[in-house]
Symmetry: C2
Subunit: 189 residues, 2 copies
DNA sequence: GTCTATAAGACGATAGAC
DNA sequence: GTCTATCGTCTTATAGAC
């Protein structure tokens, strides 16, 4: 297991603070204090506050893009792909709880990388929508507005970072199984 | 129809800016600029930036609390109450798209009112969970982890403010009907 | 009700010593 | 790699003229 560099430590601690207060409300002095050093010392490892946010968000967004690429290339039906998407979100979210908060809430503070991020997100949603539309055509899923279906499932998955740390007694296999049922079969008996 | 006071206008415009950039990233100069006046002039109508946020968030949180109180006092089964909760979120969210963003993303920037807000939210979730648990006991809904069911439904409803303005061609009755089906019956055919 | 001027401090970031 | 000192700018908010 590779040791964490100082730069990686800064990014990890920054993501934790960004989750608590949001990017704009976290100062370089806050971050330095949490690291046990002075604010000026941070600049020996990173270029700017903006760079930290860029790194956190873009690396996560690319991870989702790569995950979706693998799912798309697998030969499965709609329900199978949806279950894999649920798995993908649980895996990435549980591995990077703090970063997921920035991805969801602070992407608007990206500058040069903002349009790139929006392209990745938009492509991801296009793939997701395509899977649902295929499922409607093949009669695997109900013929309801695919936009509303995607919205409902995706917002649940995008909020996992809030709930996973609050329910530590709930293991990830149990969560995965419950979400598969709830999101796909519903809660009605 | 009552005319909007200057103070109400400031709060409405502030909520719009808070949705776009978050509370911390919006300056009083931004807000004044959007109003067509100077920043100092704002203080003739409001006490502080903090007060604006307090007003936006607490009034919405109390609206949800009151809505839940009415639903609880109505004699309905679990599914009936859930459908009313869906209606409640659609109604409040569509009437105050901008404010919902602050309620969801900027509540951590409350100061004196923060614990009051957290109490309202926690009570709301307790009521929601209670409805689901009753539904499990009466065999109306499936016997899955009520925490995960609540998480899934509630995060979808709490994110409505993002999606409603993006899908203006989708009217609210259609949205309501689709959400009832998706959240309760699932998407499986 | 809006303005100009300004207080008092916090902000991101840099220079240069050690 | 961290420090002290500091720059130039932006921040919320107030005082007082009109």
């Amino acid at each position: 297991m590779k040791l964490e560099t100082r730069k990686e430590e800064i990014i990890r601690v920054a993501a934790k603070l960004f989750k608590e207060k949001g990017y704009s409300a976290v100062t370089m002095r806050d971050l330095a204090g949490e690291m046990g050093i002075k604010a000026a010392s941070l600049y020996n490892h990173i270029n700017s506050k903006q760079d930290i946010l860029d790194t956190i968000i873009i690396s996560l967004a690319e991870e989702f893009t790569e995950g979706m690429r693998l799912i798309q290339s697998s030969k499965q039906n709609c329900i199978g792909k949806l279950k894999q998407i649920i798995q993908l979100h649980i895996r990435i979210s549980s591995q990077n709880i703090y970063g997921m908060a920035s991805l969801n809430n602070d992407w608007m503070h990206l500058k040069e990388k903002r349009s790139y991020y929006k392209k990745l997100r938009s492509d991801y949603e296009d793939d997701f929508r395509g899977i649902l539309k295929d499922g409607i055509v093949s009669s695997e899923i109900v013929d309801l507005n695919p936009e509303v279906m995607m919205f409902s499932i995706l917002t649940t998955l995008r909020s996992l970072y809030i709930w996973i740390p609050k329910k530590e007694d709930l293991n990830l296999e149990e969560l995965s199984s419950a979400l598969n049922q709830i999101l796909i079969e519903g809660i009605n008996k």
